[in-house]
Amino acid sequence: MIATLAASALLALMTSALSPRMGRWVFLIPAIASGVAFVYFLTLAPAILSGEAVEESIEWIPSLGITLAFRMGALQLLLALVVTGVGAMILAYSVWYFESKTLKSRTVGLLTGFAASMLLLVLADDVILLVIGWELTSVFSYLLVGLNHHSRKNRSAAQTAFIVTTAGGLAMLVGAVMLGSEAGTYMLHEILAQPPESTITTVAVMLLLAGALSKSAIFPFHFWLPGAMAAPTPVSAFLHAAAMVKAGIYLSAALVPAFADIPLFRPTLIVLGVATMLVGAYRALLQTDIKVLLAHGTVSQLGLLMTIVGIGTKTALMGGLAMLAAHAMFKASLFMVVGTIDRQYGTRQLTKLGTLRKDRPLLAVAATLAAIAMAGLPPAMAFAAKEAGLEAAWEAISLPGVPTWLGVLAFAGIVVGSMGTVAYTLRFLIGTFFVDSRLREALDGDEPFIVRHGMWPQLVALFPMVLAMLGIVSGFFGKPITAALEGATASAPAGEASYLALWHGFTPALAGSAIAVVGGFIVWRLFGRSMAAPVEPRFSAAAAYAGMMRGLDRLAVEVTGRTQSGSLPVHVSTIAVTVTVLAGAGLAFASLGAPKLVVADSVGQLVVGIAVSVCALVAANTRGRLKTFLLMGIVGYGTAMMFLLHGAPDLALTQILAETVLLVLLVLVLRYLPKYFTNRPLRGVRWLRALLAACVGAVAGLGALFAANSRNEASISDRFYELAYSFGFGRNIVNVTLVDIRAWDTVGEISVLLAAATGVASLIFIRTRVVDPVGTLRGRRGRPDTSKVGPGWLRAGATADMQGRAPMLEMMTRLLFPVMLVVAIYLLFAGHNDPGGGFIAGIVAGLALCVRYLAAGALELAEAAPIDAGKLLGGGIILAALSLIGPVFFGGSVGQSYDYTIEILAMGEIHFVTSVFFDVGVFLVVLGTVLDFIRSLGAGIDTQWRNDQTPRPSAHSDRTVPVRSRGAQS
């Protein structure tokens, strides 16, 4: 079973790729595969029918008790045969139906994928897996109905179908989880074997039924199905007649043996089933589009199926399942007839059709055979099935535990519903094929018959013919079919098991059938021949749904309109107020007592703290742009000082380096920006803001103090001291934490770096991050040509004009650069045991490049780093990821570190730890990031300046002249 499922899923992926090359013939692949699967399931049949069940399972999420478990009993076998058998037929028919020219390549993949997920749904034994299959079919249905997404109507129909069935599916998921936890297992067959009894179980089963009702288009969810007919006809035939809509029936039938006696089970299914049957039949009788007629007919038939299954006895289940198979055959067959007519005559309107029996005799025969089955006339299998249903309903009237009215309702409902079915069947069949031609002319004059489709004009009728014949012939095999279904019905409660047969003698069921046929004929004569265009009823479930969606949209508009001001300061203030109120209230009500406090850990801390605070406060109230950022620089270096005072040399080092990079880049950008920030008149709002900010600061500070004092467990970092050396093989605990103990965090963090670097580059270069140092932004890659310049301290320095050169700086750079790189390498490798590490080394190396740029400009930078920063970033991430995963291939676990001691001749031993690879990855990412920043904000902006694309501050203003308006001027 698992192999079959895997193969179908694989096929779904492959066929779409083949579709453009094979055209319509691509459907042969899944058709044949489906046929093979059908035969394979048939070979399993003897074993299953003798009472065994085929089970296969693979562990999936053992901690949640969820398994990829599959189990095929008699019920599942029936469904699997229907899906693969009818599926094979419809897929083969698709070869005829679709045209290579207009066929979208995804169609075949979606249809095959649907078949695979339908099989998953049917074969799954784990209820969670069943829900997954369930939702997958909904998704495929959505995509298939919306195949032509240019049409608004198709999109709408797809969306409606999806929302309705998914809402049911979600209810079902909740039900499945509840039922699973109540039963202590998610295995369907175990739950059914020992059903739990509790209120929770009742709720769970009702939730499952909600899913079943929505999927099978039972009232009040029935309205999505006719809309879904916007899909191509093979899709309608497969999803919305034969397979997907049967999922709800399948689930209900599966639940019957265990839960039919739950008080609400039978009334829900029967009442809603009968309502659906009548609504569907009534609506079908009014339609002039034969496909929509069949769609409403399908709704009606699904109601019939739900009613019969809902009676919940052995006989009922027998009738229901037989009807399910029969319906799949005749309805798929009729849909194929409709598809053929639609393709060949370009219309589905009863007002234009009517005399097709002359043109298409074979098709007429196929349609008639299928119609006999649909109307439930002997000798079709559908007749025997309906008889069994009526018999079950009759039994139910006198069954203890079932209210009498319910039995009566079921019986009467089936009879009246069948009456309607007979009537709309006649309307369909006569109206399409057998209207007297004179009458036709009287109805309307024009003859629309234009044949659009030339291939196999007559023989195409064989596709529906096969299925229709099967539906009739199987009627004669009541006994073996009864025997085959016994496995699925034996465990159902109550009642004698009946059998399927065309003749039971004179029974109430036969009387019911007779009434239905005669009544149906009369109804058709009276009401079924009007060709008036159907009127959408004022009060319908569809209108209610539309009203609901509209209400939802209105609600969204109101809520958004009231809460979204669109102003950034207001949004930030909202967050600040929330922080103050919630966290402040939490602090106010916390019963922690007075925290253990010292004024300061050292005098240095106090002094630095005051200095930093003053700088920050002044910076917040300064208009000068450069001044603000220089003050912020002091805050940054002060923070580094704090780190140092706190015994954190790694932090201090990183902070100083990062602050330096930031300052350099800030100055590079600030060159082109106005001197002052926009002036803000001193208004009351500013004081309010200051107050709010002070509150947030106070809450944060107090929170930190309280948090530090409310710790009552030993810190996890107490063990880091010992772990760092025994597992990470390093003495620098902070560095080992980064590259080993919490390596996953670091991976996340370097990914952020990569994203930020890419973001910055794309903001400056827009298209490519490779800067062309000489001229236009339309990149010339690689190193600049500096071969012709004379000697100098820096090669590119000689390309700049004399005024722009700084010989001292060039000389210093020449001397400093190699030293800085050596220091970076040293820090990188020493970091495991001494201060240093990938982050620090990366910034040092980045600063070295920065110095080269500052000394002699963009050309020098290109000379120093003739490599795309993107390659450094990508390479670094890949190296870090590989070094984490690597140990797995050598039998270790993810992120495990190993140490080696390598002896090098005459140099002593080198202690080498594998996590250094990870650190090198971090180094590369950080270096790439800094390089990208200098390239973008340094060299990139230089190039823009040369092209007059930088912002130009206007005189005596806090604005710049935008590039666009400059272009307009010149």
Partner: protein, 163 residues
């Protein structure tokens, strides 16, 4: 564990200054606010590290009680580098804004204003579509006509690209 008041107070002041600047419209001021804010948060991490001890290295004469808690340090270390990257991104954003618009002030969202107007007028959202919401499916489903039109358009396109 003893917390340092000076450290927490410094953190609080930095955060207050940061939040104050964050409520501005100018991206550059927001950047300054972010700088202050991230340094303030680093301070609070130091508070959680407790009483300062020796540098966190495995060495003779030290043990887990004599060194500063390494966990907050590891978090702050990556935070420093990430804030650097975020700050520069904001810087580039601001530069770009000056380049395109001549200023770097975040204007009120136009879309939000539209939604507000619609809410006042008791309208549905601009993208809401009565047909898409499910009214009126089954009156006209002339799929063949639509497909024919699509095929025609495809053929035309093919012809167009061939020339």
């Amino acid at each position: 564990m003893t917390a340092s008041l000076a450290l927490a107070a410094t953190g609080a002041v930095l955060i207050a200054a940061g939040v104050y600047l964050f409520m501005e419209r100018s991206l550059m001021r927001i950047l300054a606010g972010l700088l202050s804010l991230s340094n303030g948060v680093s301070m609070l991490f130091l508070v959680s590290a407790g009483t300062p001890g020796g540098a966190s290295f495995v060495a003779d004469g030290s043990d887990s009680s004599t060194i500063t808690d390494p966990l907050p340090q590891a978090m702050v270390l990556t935070a420093i580098v990430i804030s650097l990257a975020t700050n520069i991104f904001l810087l580039a954003l601001s530069y770009r804004s000056f380049q395109l618009d001549g200023h770097d002030e975040v204007a009120d969202d136009v879309e939000d204003a539209i939604v507000r107007r619609r809410a006042e007028a008791d309208l549905t959202s601009a993208t809401f579509d009565e047909t898409e919401a499910g009214i009126d499916h089954d009156t006209d489903l002339d799929e063949a006509a639509v497909e024919a039109a699509a095929a025609k358009a495809a053929a035309k396109e093919q012809k167009g690209s061939g020339e």
